[in-house]
């Protein structure tokens, strides 16, 4: 599970580099996210622009990461691809997360 993190002021952008977050790697994803977000950065943005597929295990892992950051810190999402968006919408999780179309302004150079 390759995740690339980049700090930018008070925002930590984590880019998921795999094309799937599924049952085969959900636990690995959760563990790596936990390591990466140990430093106290108030906002964490998970950029999923490269993730073409997310199943319910992957969704569960993203929810778990959000819960681990709460209540002090927030997990925001960006770059949801069509099929990933569908899973968030159907499960109503799109109303639980702050979802950006792209990595928030001023961070786009961080690619």
């Amino acid at each position: 599970m390759r995740l690339v993190a980049e700090q930018n002021g008070e925002i930590l952008v984590v880019r998921a580099m795999e094309d799937r977050i599924d049952a085969a790697c959900a636990i690995q994803f959760k563990d790596r996210m936990r390591e990466i977000t140990q430093d106290n950065c108030p906002r964490v943005v998970l950029d999923m622009a490269r993730v073409a597929f997310l199943d319910s295990s992957g969704l569960g892992a993203v929810v778990a990461v959000m819960k681990a950051l709460a209540p002090d810190r927030r997990l925001e999402l960006s770059g949801l691809t069509a099929n990933v968006q569908k899973v968030f919408r159907l499960t109503r999780m799109d109303s639980v997360f702050v979802i950006h179309a792209e990595v928030p302004d001023g961070l786009r150079h961080a690619g």
């Binding site: 569960g60 069509a82 099929n83 159907l90």
Partner: protein, 152 residues
């Protein structure tokens, strides 16, 4: 000859057999979605098919084969506008031999958000004619997916 008395409808299918294991599910889906059968579907229908099949297969790996290993056979039949999906496993039967309900549990605060239980909800939301039965000591799960018009 103008005789068209028998408009026999041939249908295409694709099949794969995988061991019950999360990586095999991933590879099996990849193999299926690489066939011309599935490459012929519109992009969003492919996406929906992959979600439903992945959820069904993950459940089998996790629950039906919780105590032993075995194979899963996936057969997809393109029948007119529908992709008819059949999944056979030799694992434990479904509790009470009935399909789980798969309701979405609404939670007000973040600390109570569910981290699982979305599987059957997604399968039910995206498929039609969902059916489960025990045949010859095996689990047969079947459902239909629309391959043409985007419904979601």
């Amino acid at each position: 000859m103008a005789c068209m008395a028998y408009p026999s409808a041939a249908h295409l299918c694709a099949q794969v057999v995988i061991p019950a294991d999360p990586l095999a599910v991933r590879e099996g889906l990849k193999a299926l979605f690489d066939t011309i059968l599935l490459r012929s579907l519109p992009e969003d229908r492919r996406g929906t098919a992959e979600i439903v099949l992945a959820e069904a297969l993950n459940n089998i790996v996790e629950h039906a084969y919780a105590r032993h290993s075995g194979d899963i056979e996936i057969t997809l039949d393109l029948r007119g506008p529908d992709l008819v999906c059949r999944i056979l496993d030799s694992g434990l039967p479904m509790p009470k031999e009935t399909l789980p309900e798969g309701r979405l549990i609404a939670r007000a605060d973040v600390s109570n958000l569910p981290e699982g239980g979305f599987g059957w909800f997604l399968i039910r939301a995206l498929s039609r004619d969902l059916d489960y039965r025990r045949v010859g000591g095996r689990n047969l799960l079947s459902f239909r997916l629309n391959t043409q018009q985007a419904m979601v």
